[in-house]
Amino acid sequence: MTILEVKDLTKRFGGLVAVNEVDFVVEKGMILGIIGPNGAGKTTLYNLVTGVFRPTKGKVIFKGENVTHLSTHRRAAKGLVRTFQTTSLFHEMTVLQNVLVAHYLFRNSKGLGQLIATPSFHKEDAKVKKRAVEILDYLGLSAVKNELAKSLPHGHQRALGIALALATEPTLLLLDEPVTGMNEVETATMMSLIKRLRDDMGITIVVVEHNMRAVMGLSEYIIALNFGTKIAEGAPDTVVKNRDVIEAYLGVEQGA
């Protein structure tokens, strides 16, 4: 079943074309990798898929529904969630508070109903707390659950970012450079975590990454971008040997 379909997606900023008529499809349960040199438009692509930007042209179809004109939070409510490149957390809250607040979609009582302490409210509150603790456990963050998010080491911050996304019960998770800046051990841990997210929870995953080994090790299918255009796609071995892809990366190195 196709979870995500991106058709003819284009984004222009004035004269600059950041994303150029990109199409791809993500099947349920897949781990898709997106690669490309810096400035290839990967983050812009994510912004288009999640609704931070509106496309100049093209469509985003999620679970069969055209979500191109929906705002970010509506897409998240449908199960389309992302993490961020720069660690995006609620810095002044503790780790536990972060995950609790991310259960916004999970809760049933919204708005002013949350102010009245009925028995059902308490029950739901307890359920949320239990689930938050479970998520922290799953990601190995239990020990630091009362630390402020901003005081966490880098690796834990990344894990917390994923915890927040998990709290929303996502169907499709877009990871933005999850292992950038990590050492070998951390990278391996993160990679196995990502696999577990798919294997244990059935979450479909898209990964944007620079670390080629990580992308190769994780993805079943890869899409390569350069200058906003899709230049190659296919199984990891095929893409990595593709001449355009090699040129894109080498070309950047030479020109830079």
């Binding site: 999640t50 931070v52 705002s71 970010t72 939070h73 509506r74 998240a76 409510a77 969630v81 992302r82 961020f84 995006s88 957390l89 609620f90 810095h91 002044e92 809250m93 508070q97 609790l100 607040v101 991310a102 259960h103 916004y104 979609l105 809760r107 708005g111 002013l112 949350q114 102010l115 509150d125 949320v128 927040l164 996304a165 709290a167 929303t168």
Partner: protein, 336 residues
């Protein structure tokens, strides 16, 4: 630490509800100052509420005005008794905020702050030329709250021009109500959602939080309480006109909230009460009041951005100092 807080709150409550009224039973001047400070505290608290979602509002006076006019018009033109007009003024203000919130809250940060300023100013000006609301001369002969008797038992006493005590208790009740509601919000998941929006609204949206809706919600809640204050004010003064309200007052309340410490629930109250009392003491040198106030603000924003309330961080060390003090004075303080 927690016990100290609880003790402080109980002491303040007792002071507020019992001691002050008894001590100053007949001193209308002092009661009036307390009433004013309470009104301002409520407005300052609503400023804090907005701030929790990361927005600054300078235009709360617009909602106070709206509440005052709504309540006054309901009472004079529709014969609505005060006790009904009061909550209605709040609700109408909240609805008003809902309506202007939709377009206005499409902008954030500085834009929004300036926009609230402009809206407040425009409302003040518009009231001057609109005859239905009395134009420049405003509204007068507004009815006071009615007394309510159940049989021979007086539930609510007479509100007169001479005795300010009933008004005092009414505004004290409203202030405590505001504090209770806002505290509940702070500690609820809703409050956590608000703080999430304040700290990182992009992230909040990406985990499904409808940021704009929440901001409109908080705008309406703060307008509701401002409307209550407006209604109280109208039937306390029994006369008001557009000049009674000023954008610059609105700005001052934001400053009081900051001075006291906008991060704390007690901050705006401390700032408002503190400043109002300071001005009363400084009456003889009233000329210098703006300068001193301004100087205090500049000092605080540069050197104590958390406001006066943030000094509470130093309380543990003060307690530790007292603990270390030898001699009879130290022992005496420690026993408490």
């Amino acid at each position: 630490m927690k016990n100290f807080r609880l003790l402080a709150i109980i002491v303040l409550l007792v002071l507020f509800v019992l001691v002050i009224p008894i001590l100053f039973r007949n001193d209308n001047y002092i009661l009036h100052v307390f009433i004013m400070a309470s009104e301002i505290s409520i407005v300052a608290l609503t400023v804090r509420l907005m701030y929790i979602t990361g927005e600054f509002t300078f235009g709360q006076v617009a909602f106070v005005m709206f509440g005052a006019y709504s309540s006054a018009l309901l009472a004079t033109k529709a014969g609505v008794p005060f006790w009904v007009a009061l909550p209605m003024a709040g609700i109408l203000s909240a609805l008003f905020a809902l309506v202007i919130g939709f377009p206005v809250l499409r902008l954030k940060g500085t834009y929004f702050a300036i926009l609230t300023l402009i809206i407040a100013e425009v409302m003040c000006q518009a009231a001057r030329v609109w005859d239905f609301v009395g134009g420049d001369t405003g509204l007068e002969n507004l009815p006071r709250p009615d007394a309510i008797h159940i049989g021979t038992f007086t539930l609510i006493p007479e509100f007169t021009a001479i005795d300010k005590l009933p008004y005092y208790y009414l505004i004290a009740f409203l202030l405590i109500l505001t504090i209770v509601v806002f505290r509940r919000i702070d500690r609820s998941p809703l409050g956590a959602t608000f703080r999430a929006i304040q700290q990182n609204d992009t992230l909040a949206a990406s985990i499904g939080i409808n940021v704009r809706w929440h901001r409109i919600l908080v705008f309406s809640i703060s307008a509701f309480f401002c409307g209550l204050v407006g209604s109280f004010y109208a039937h306390y003064m029994t006369v008001f006109y557009p000049r009674s309200f000023s954008v610059w007052d609105s700005i001052t309340y934001v400053l009081y909230a900051f001075l006291g410490g906008i991060g704390y629930l007690g901050g705006p109250i401390l700032g408002s009460f503190g400043m109002i009392w300071l001005w009363e003491f400084m009456h003889p040198i009233q000329k210098f009041q703006p300068m001193i106030f301004a100087g205090a603000i500049v000092m605080v924003i540069l050197f104590l951005p958390g406001g006066l309330f943030s000094l509470e961080k130093f309380l543990p060390s003060v307690a530790a100092q007292i603990g270390k003090m030898s001699g009879p004075l130290g022992k005496k303080l420690r026993r408490n």
